[in-house]
Protein backbone atom coordinates (compact mmCIF):
# COMPACT_ATOMS: atom_id res chain seq x y z
CA UNK A 1 0.00 0.00 0.00
CA UNK A 2 1.36 3.41 -0.95
CA UNK A 3 0.60 6.67 0.73
CA UNK A 4 1.00 9.86 -1.17
CA UNK A 5 2.56 11.71 1.71
CA UNK A 6 4.40 8.86 3.33
CA UNK A 7 8.06 9.54 3.92
CA UNK A 8 10.59 6.83 4.57
CA UNK A 9 12.50 7.74 7.66
CA UNK A 10 15.68 6.08 8.84
CA UNK A 11 15.66 4.67 12.34
CA UNK A 12 18.35 3.61 14.79
CA UNK A 13 17.95 1.10 17.60
CA UNK A 14 18.46 2.99 20.84
CA UNK A 15 19.48 -0.07 22.85
CA UNK A 16 22.24 -1.04 20.43
CA UNK A 17 23.61 2.09 18.95
CA UNK A 18 23.76 4.94 21.35
CA UNK A 19 24.70 6.35 24.68
CA UNK A 20 22.55 9.12 26.07
CA UNK A 21 23.68 12.13 28.08
CA UNK A 22 21.66 13.26 31.10
CA UNK A 23 19.95 15.94 28.99
CA UNK A 24 19.17 13.51 26.15
CA UNK A 25 17.79 10.91 28.55
CA UNK A 26 15.57 13.53 30.19
CA UNK A 27 14.30 14.72 26.82
CA UNK A 28 13.62 11.22 25.59
CA UNK A 29 11.82 10.09 28.73
CA UNK A 30 10.21 13.35 29.87
CA UNK A 31 11.90 12.94 33.25
CA UNK A 32 13.28 15.85 35.22
CA UNK A 33 17.03 15.97 35.84
CA UNK A 34 16.38 15.97 39.59
CA UNK A 35 14.47 12.71 39.31
CA UNK A 36 17.12 11.04 37.18
CA UNK A 37 19.88 12.14 39.56
CA UNK A 38 17.90 10.76 42.51
CA UNK A 39 17.41 7.45 40.68
CA UNK A 40 21.11 7.19 39.89
CA UNK A 41 21.93 7.62 43.58
CA UNK A 42 19.32 4.99 44.40
CA UNK A 43 20.94 2.55 41.94
CA UNK A 44 18.00 2.49 39.51
CA UNK A 45 20.28 3.69 36.72
CA UNK A 46 24.01 3.17 36.41
CA UNK A 47 25.62 5.65 34.01
CA UNK A 48 29.30 5.74 33.11
CA UNK A 49 31.08 8.87 34.35
CA UNK A 50 31.66 10.56 37.71
CA UNK A 51 29.65 13.75 37.61
CA UNK A 52 26.17 14.35 36.11
CA UNK A 53 27.62 16.50 33.29
CA UNK A 54 29.76 13.55 32.15
CA UNK A 55 27.18 10.81 32.64
CA UNK A 56 26.61 8.46 29.72
CA UNK A 57 23.55 6.21 29.94
CA UNK A 58 23.19 3.01 27.95
CA UNK A 59 20.23 2.63 25.59
CA UNK A 60 18.57 0.23 28.05
CA UNK A 61 18.30 3.13 30.52
CA UNK A 62 15.54 4.66 28.39
CA UNK A 63 13.09 1.89 29.19
CA UNK A 64 13.92 1.96 32.91
CA UNK A 65 13.66 5.73 33.07
CA UNK A 66 10.28 5.69 31.32
CA UNK A 67 9.01 3.10 33.77
CA UNK A 68 10.38 5.07 36.72
CA UNK A 69 8.66 8.21 35.40
CA UNK A 70 5.32 6.50 35.05
CA UNK A 71 5.58 5.16 38.62
CA UNK A 72 6.29 8.62 39.97
CA UNK A 73 3.58 10.28 37.89
CA UNK A 74 0.85 7.70 38.39
CA UNK A 75 1.60 6.26 41.80
CA UNK A 76 3.71 8.99 43.44
CA UNK A 77 6.44 6.54 44.44
CA UNK A 78 9.67 7.88 45.99
CA UNK A 79 13.12 6.92 44.61
CA UNK A 80 13.60 3.99 46.99
CA UNK A 81 10.15 2.68 46.04
CA UNK A 82 10.94 3.11 42.34
CA UNK A 83 14.14 1.10 42.82
CA UNK A 84 12.26 -1.69 44.57
CA UNK A 85 9.43 -1.71 41.99
CA UNK A 86 11.89 -1.90 39.08
CA UNK A 87 13.90 -4.69 40.71
CA UNK A 88 10.74 -6.69 41.31
CA UNK A 89 9.56 -5.99 37.78
CA UNK A 90 12.90 -7.28 36.43
CA UNK A 91 12.40 -10.44 38.42
CA UNK A 92 8.84 -10.85 37.15
CA UNK A 93 10.09 -10.38 33.59
CA UNK A 94 12.62 -13.19 34.05
CA UNK A 95 9.99 -15.48 35.58
CA UNK A 96 7.45 -14.72 32.86
CA UNK A 97 10.08 -15.41 30.21
CA UNK A 98 10.81 -18.75 31.87
CA UNK A 99 7.12 -19.66 31.82
CA UNK A 100 6.91 -18.63 28.20
CA UNK A 101 9.78 -20.93 27.29
CA UNK A 102 7.62 -23.83 28.41
CA UNK A 103 4.54 -22.46 26.73
CA UNK A 104 2.80 -21.57 30.01
CA UNK A 105 0.95 -18.28 30.10
Amino acid sequence: MKYVNAEVVPASVVEESCYLSLTELCQASNATEDHVIAWVFEGVLAPIGDIPQDWQFTGQSLRRTRLACSFVRDLEINPAGVALALDLLDEITVLRARLKRFGIR
Binding site: A6, V9, R63, R66, S70, R101
Partner: protein, 315 residues
Protein backbone atom coordinates in the same frame (compact mmCIF):
# COMPACT_ATOMS: atom_id res chain seq x y z
CA UNK B 1 -22.63 11.74 25.21
CA UNK B 2 -22.84 9.32 28.10
CA UNK B 3 -22.55 10.32 31.71
CA UNK B 4 -19.46 8.92 33.43
CA UNK B 5 -19.73 7.95 37.05
CA UNK B 6 -16.29 8.78 38.38
CA UNK B 7 -17.15 7.49 41.86
CA UNK B 8 -18.04 4.11 40.38
CA UNK B 9 -14.77 4.07 38.40
CA UNK B 10 -12.75 4.56 41.56
CA UNK B 11 -15.09 2.37 43.59
CA UNK B 12 -16.01 4.79 46.38
CA UNK B 13 -19.35 6.18 47.58
CA UNK B 14 -20.20 9.78 46.82
CA UNK B 15 -19.69 10.59 50.47
CA UNK B 16 -16.04 9.43 50.39
CA UNK B 17 -13.44 11.71 51.95
CA UNK B 18 -10.48 12.97 49.89
CA UNK B 19 -8.26 10.49 51.74
CA UNK B 20 -10.55 7.59 50.89
CA UNK B 21 -10.58 8.62 47.24
CA UNK B 22 -6.80 8.80 47.19
CA UNK B 23 -6.43 5.39 48.84
CA UNK B 24 -8.92 3.73 46.51
CA UNK B 25 -7.33 5.34 43.46
CA UNK B 26 -3.82 4.31 44.47
CA UNK B 27 -4.88 0.73 45.01
CA UNK B 28 -6.57 0.47 41.61
CA UNK B 29 -3.77 2.40 39.90
CA UNK B 30 -1.27 -0.19 41.14
CA UNK B 31 -3.57 -2.99 40.02
CA UNK B 32 -4.17 -1.65 36.50
CA UNK B 33 -0.91 0.15 35.82
CA UNK B 34 -0.19 -0.80 32.20
CA UNK B 35 3.50 -1.35 32.88
CA UNK B 36 2.75 -3.90 35.58
CA UNK B 37 -0.70 -5.33 35.01
CA UNK B 38 -1.45 -8.42 32.95
CA UNK B 39 -5.15 -7.52 32.65
CA UNK B 40 -6.24 -7.40 29.02
CA UNK B 41 -8.01 -4.08 29.44
CA UNK B 42 -5.45 -2.59 31.83
CA UNK B 43 -4.65 0.35 29.58
CA UNK B 44 -8.30 1.39 29.19
CA UNK B 45 -9.09 0.92 32.88
CA UNK B 46 -6.01 2.90 33.85
CA UNK B 47 -6.94 5.78 31.55
CA UNK B 48 -10.45 5.89 33.00
CA UNK B 49 -9.04 5.84 36.51
CA UNK B 50 -6.71 8.72 35.70
CA UNK B 51 -9.57 10.79 34.34
CA UNK B 52 -11.81 10.05 37.33
CA UNK B 53 -9.04 10.86 39.78
CA UNK B 54 -8.13 14.10 37.98
CA UNK B 55 -11.64 15.29 38.85
CA UNK B 56 -12.25 13.78 42.26
CA UNK B 57 -8.89 14.60 43.82
CA UNK B 58 -9.45 18.29 43.23
CA UNK B 59 -12.14 19.60 45.65
CA UNK B 60 -13.02 22.41 43.24
CA UNK B 61 -13.63 20.10 40.26
CA UNK B 62 -15.26 17.49 42.46
CA UNK B 63 -17.82 20.03 43.68
CA UNK B 64 -18.58 21.05 40.11
CA UNK B 65 -18.91 17.43 39.04
CA UNK B 66 -21.20 16.65 41.98
CA UNK B 67 -23.43 19.53 41.00
CA UNK B 68 -24.05 18.33 37.42
CA UNK B 69 -23.90 14.68 38.32
CA UNK B 70 -26.54 14.83 41.01
CA UNK B 71 -28.94 11.99 40.23
CA UNK B 72 -27.24 10.93 36.99
CA UNK B 73 -26.16 7.36 36.34
CA UNK B 74 -23.29 5.92 34.37
CA UNK B 75 -24.13 5.37 30.72
CA UNK B 76 -27.11 7.70 30.84
CA UNK B 77 -27.33 10.31 28.08
CA UNK B 78 -25.88 13.53 29.31
CA UNK B 79 -25.64 17.16 28.27
CA UNK B 80 -24.06 19.80 30.48
CA UNK B 81 -26.69 22.26 31.75
CA UNK B 82 -27.03 25.55 29.83
CA UNK B 83 -24.64 28.19 31.03
CA UNK B 84 -22.43 25.49 32.46
CA UNK B 85 -18.87 26.49 33.21
CA UNK B 86 -19.59 30.18 33.63
CA UNK B 87 -19.14 30.12 37.36
CA UNK B 88 -16.04 27.97 37.49
CA UNK B 89 -12.50 28.60 36.61
CA UNK B 90 -10.29 25.57 36.61
CA UNK B 91 -6.64 26.06 37.16
CA UNK B 92 -5.18 22.64 37.84
CA UNK B 93 -1.62 22.16 36.72
CA UNK B 94 -2.12 18.47 36.02
CA UNK B 95 -5.12 18.86 33.83
CA UNK B 96 -3.89 16.87 30.89
CA UNK B 97 -3.94 13.10 30.81
CA UNK B 98 -0.72 11.25 31.43
CA UNK B 99 -0.03 10.27 27.84
CA UNK B 100 -0.82 13.66 26.37
CA UNK B 101 -3.96 12.33 24.67
CA UNK B 102 -7.12 14.26 25.48
CA UNK B 103 -9.56 13.00 28.08
CA UNK B 104 -13.04 11.74 27.13
CA UNK B 105 -15.64 14.00 25.50
CA UNK B 106 -17.56 13.87 28.75
CA UNK B 107 -14.58 15.23 30.67
CA UNK B 108 -13.94 17.92 28.09
CA UNK B 109 -17.55 19.05 28.00
CA UNK B 110 -17.33 19.73 31.71
CA UNK B 111 -13.82 20.97 32.22
CA UNK B 112 -12.77 22.11 28.79
CA UNK B 113 -9.97 20.84 26.65
CA UNK B 114 -6.37 20.92 27.57
CA UNK B 115 -4.99 24.15 26.32
CA UNK B 116 -2.33 23.84 23.69
CA UNK B 117 1.17 25.05 24.02
CA UNK B 118 1.48 28.80 24.22
CA UNK B 119 3.43 30.01 21.22
CA UNK B 120 5.57 33.03 21.84
CA UNK B 121 7.16 34.75 18.94
CA UNK B 122 10.66 35.21 20.26
CA UNK B 123 11.03 31.90 22.01
CA UNK B 124 13.10 29.11 20.55
CA UNK B 125 12.80 25.69 22.09
CA UNK B 126 13.39 22.13 21.05
CA UNK B 127 10.19 20.20 20.40
CA UNK B 128 9.31 17.42 22.79
CA UNK B 129 10.21 13.81 22.10
CA UNK B 130 7.23 11.61 21.37
CA UNK B 131 6.67 7.92 22.04
CA UNK B 132 4.54 5.30 20.38
CA UNK B 133 4.29 1.52 20.38
CA UNK B 134 4.49 -0.52 17.21
CA UNK B 135 3.65 -4.20 16.81
CA UNK B 136 5.57 -6.09 14.14
CA UNK B 137 5.68 -9.73 13.08
CA UNK B 138 8.48 -11.97 14.28
CA UNK B 139 9.45 -12.52 10.63
CA UNK B 140 10.12 -8.76 10.34
CA UNK B 141 12.79 -9.10 13.02
CA UNK B 142 14.50 -11.76 10.89
CA UNK B 143 14.42 -10.02 7.56
CA UNK B 144 13.94 -6.38 8.42
CA UNK B 145 10.93 -4.62 6.96
CA UNK B 146 9.50 -1.39 5.75
CA UNK B 147 6.34 -0.63 7.65
CA UNK B 148 3.77 2.09 7.23
CA UNK B 149 2.59 3.27 10.58
CA UNK B 150 -0.19 5.65 11.42
CA UNK B 151 0.29 7.81 14.47
CA UNK B 152 -2.42 9.73 16.23
CA UNK B 153 -0.82 12.94 17.28
CA UNK B 154 -2.50 15.46 19.57
CA UNK B 155 -1.85 18.91 18.16
CA UNK B 156 -3.15 22.34 19.11
CA UNK B 157 -5.37 24.04 16.52
CA UNK B 158 -5.46 27.81 16.00
CA UNK B 159 -7.78 28.23 18.99
CA UNK B 160 -5.51 26.30 21.27
CA UNK B 161 -7.82 23.27 21.30
CA UNK B 162 -6.26 19.86 21.18
CA UNK B 163 -7.28 17.83 18.16
CA UNK B 164 -6.07 14.45 16.98
CA UNK B 165 -4.31 14.44 13.65
CA UNK B 166 -3.26 11.29 11.80
CA UNK B 167 0.23 11.06 10.50
CA UNK B 168 1.67 8.37 8.28
CA UNK B 169 5.29 7.38 8.28
CA UNK B 170 7.21 4.67 6.48
CA UNK B 171 9.74 3.21 8.87
CA UNK B 172 12.62 0.95 8.03
CA UNK B 173 12.72 -1.71 10.72
CA UNK B 174 16.20 -3.18 10.92
CA UNK B 175 16.64 -6.93 11.14
CA UNK B 176 17.66 -8.13 14.58
CA UNK B 177 15.21 -5.88 16.43
CA UNK B 178 13.79 -7.37 19.63
CA UNK B 179 10.65 -6.81 21.65
CA UNK B 180 11.04 -3.95 24.13
CA UNK B 181 13.70 -2.16 22.09
CA UNK B 182 13.22 1.39 20.89
CA UNK B 183 13.71 2.85 17.44
CA UNK B 184 14.74 6.48 17.39
CA UNK B 185 13.50 8.56 14.46
CA UNK B 186 15.47 11.76 14.70
CA UNK B 187 13.49 14.95 14.15
CA UNK B 188 10.11 13.20 13.88
CA UNK B 189 8.79 14.30 17.28
CA UNK B 190 7.04 17.53 18.16
CA UNK B 191 8.03 20.49 15.98
CA UNK B 192 10.32 23.00 17.63
CA UNK B 193 9.20 26.44 18.71
CA UNK B 194 10.68 29.31 16.73
CA UNK B 195 14.01 28.17 15.34
CA UNK B 196 14.26 25.33 17.82
CA UNK B 197 14.85 21.85 16.36
CA UNK B 198 12.09 19.24 16.28
CA UNK B 199 12.05 16.53 18.93
CA UNK B 200 12.63 12.86 18.20
CA UNK B 201 10.08 10.07 17.83
CA UNK B 202 10.68 6.85 19.75
CA UNK B 203 8.93 3.67 18.70
CA UNK B 204 8.81 0.85 21.20
CA UNK B 205 8.77 -2.46 19.38
CA UNK B 206 6.54 -5.39 20.32
CA UNK B 207 5.78 -8.63 18.48
CA UNK B 208 2.35 -9.72 17.34
CA UNK B 209 1.55 -13.02 19.04
CA UNK B 210 2.51 -15.94 16.80
CA UNK B 211 0.59 -19.19 16.63
CA UNK B 212 3.76 -21.25 16.48
CA UNK B 213 6.69 -19.37 17.92
CA UNK B 214 7.39 -17.87 21.32
CA UNK B 215 10.14 -15.34 21.80
CA UNK B 216 12.40 -14.67 24.76
CA UNK B 217 14.90 -11.93 23.99
CA UNK B 218 16.84 -13.22 20.99
CA UNK B 219 15.80 -16.84 21.47
CA UNK B 220 12.80 -18.35 19.75
CA UNK B 221 10.90 -21.43 20.90
CA UNK B 222 8.42 -23.75 19.33
CA UNK B 223 6.66 -26.91 20.43
CA UNK B 224 7.50 -29.90 18.28
CA UNK B 225 5.05 -32.77 18.69
CA UNK B 226 6.41 -36.23 17.91
CA UNK B 227 5.06 -39.80 18.07
CA UNK B 228 6.33 -42.18 20.80
CA UNK B 229 8.26 -44.26 18.27
CA UNK B 230 9.89 -41.15 16.82
CA UNK B 231 11.02 -40.25 20.34
CA UNK B 232 12.25 -43.76 21.10
CA UNK B 233 13.96 -44.57 17.83
CA UNK B 234 14.95 -41.12 16.69
CA UNK B 235 13.88 -39.61 13.39
CA UNK B 236 14.53 -36.95 10.87
CA UNK B 237 11.78 -34.45 10.18
CA UNK B 238 11.02 -31.10 8.60
CA UNK B 239 10.36 -28.26 11.01
CA UNK B 240 9.22 -24.68 10.40
CA UNK B 241 11.37 -21.72 11.42
CA UNK B 242 10.61 -18.02 10.89
CA UNK B 243 13.05 -18.20 7.97
CA UNK B 244 11.51 -21.25 6.31
CA UNK B 245 11.61 -24.99 6.87
CA UNK B 246 14.68 -26.89 8.02
CA UNK B 247 15.51 -30.57 8.34
CA UNK B 248 16.34 -31.68 11.87
CA UNK B 249 17.27 -34.94 13.56
CA UNK B 250 15.53 -36.02 16.74
CA UNK B 251 17.98 -38.24 18.64
CA UNK B 252 16.86 -41.72 19.72
CA UNK B 253 15.64 -41.89 23.32
CA UNK B 254 14.38 -38.29 23.47
CA UNK B 255 12.16 -37.51 26.44
CA UNK B 256 9.24 -35.08 26.37
CA UNK B 257 10.41 -31.55 27.19
CA UNK B 258 13.82 -32.09 25.61
CA UNK B 259 14.98 -28.93 23.87
CA UNK B 260 16.74 -29.28 20.54
CA UNK B 261 18.82 -26.20 19.90
CA UNK B 262 19.37 -24.80 16.43
CA UNK B 263 22.27 -22.51 17.06
CA UNK B 264 22.05 -19.08 15.46
CA UNK B 265 18.54 -19.70 14.12
CA UNK B 266 16.93 -17.25 16.56
CA UNK B 267 16.67 -13.52 15.96
CA UNK B 268 19.73 -12.36 13.98
CA UNK B 269 22.37 -10.22 15.67
CA UNK B 270 25.81 -10.36 17.14
CA UNK B 271 25.49 -12.90 18.63
CA UNK B 272 22.38 -14.26 16.93
CA UNK B 273 19.78 -15.94 19.10
CA UNK B 274 19.03 -19.66 19.04
CA UNK B 275 15.92 -21.52 18.00
CA UNK B 276 14.69 -24.19 20.37
CA UNK B 277 12.35 -27.02 19.42
CA UNK B 278 10.69 -28.26 22.61
CA UNK B 279 9.69 -31.89 22.14
CA UNK B 280 6.27 -33.05 23.21
CA UNK B 281 5.28 -36.68 22.80
CA UNK B 282 1.78 -37.24 21.49
CA UNK B 283 0.16 -40.60 22.24
CA UNK B 284 -1.90 -42.07 19.44
CA UNK B 285 -5.34 -43.04 20.75
CA UNK B 286 -6.10 -46.76 20.76
CA UNK B 287 -9.50 -47.06 19.09
CA UNK B 288 -9.58 -50.12 16.84
CA UNK B 289 -8.86 -53.66 18.04
CA UNK B 290 -5.61 -53.68 16.08
CA UNK B 291 -4.47 -50.49 17.77
CA UNK B 292 -5.35 -51.85 21.20
CA UNK B 293 -3.48 -55.04 20.38
CA UNK B 294 -0.43 -52.98 19.47
CA UNK B 295 -0.41 -51.34 22.93
CA UNK B 296 -0.91 -54.75 24.56
CA UNK B 297 2.05 -56.12 22.64
CA UNK B 298 4.12 -53.19 23.90
CA UNK B 299 3.12 -53.81 27.51
CA UNK B 300 3.96 -57.49 27.11
CA UNK B 301 7.40 -56.84 25.67
CA UNK B 302 8.46 -54.03 28.02
CA UNK B 303 9.02 -54.69 31.67
CA UNK B 304 8.33 -51.02 32.27
CA UNK B 305 7.30 -49.25 35.47
CA UNK B 306 6.63 -45.55 34.83
CA UNK B 307 6.31 -44.96 38.61
CA UNK B 308 9.42 -46.51 40.16
CA UNK B 309 9.65 -43.99 43.00
CA UNK B 310 6.00 -43.90 43.90
CA UNK B 311 5.23 -45.96 46.97
CA UNK B 312 2.11 -48.10 47.00
CA UNK B 313 1.82 -48.12 43.24
CA UNK B 314 1.72 -51.32 41.25
CA UNK B 315 2.97 -51.78 37.77
Amino acid sequence: MKFKDYYETIGVPRSATQDEIKRAYRKLARKYHPDVSQHVDAEIRFKELGEAYAVLKDPEKRAAYDQVGNGAHAGQDFQPPPGWGAGFEFSGSDFGSADGMPHSDFFESLFGRQSGRAYQRDTHARGKDHHAKVLIDLEDAYHGAQRSITLQVPVADENGHVIIRERKLDVLIPSGIRAGQHLRLAGQGEPGVGNGPAGDLYLEIGFNPHVQFRVDGRDVFLDLPIAPWEAALGCSLTMPTPEGSVQITVPAGSAAGRQLRLKGKGIPGDPAGDLYAVLSIVLPPAVTDREKAAYLTLSGIFNFNPRPHMKGSTS
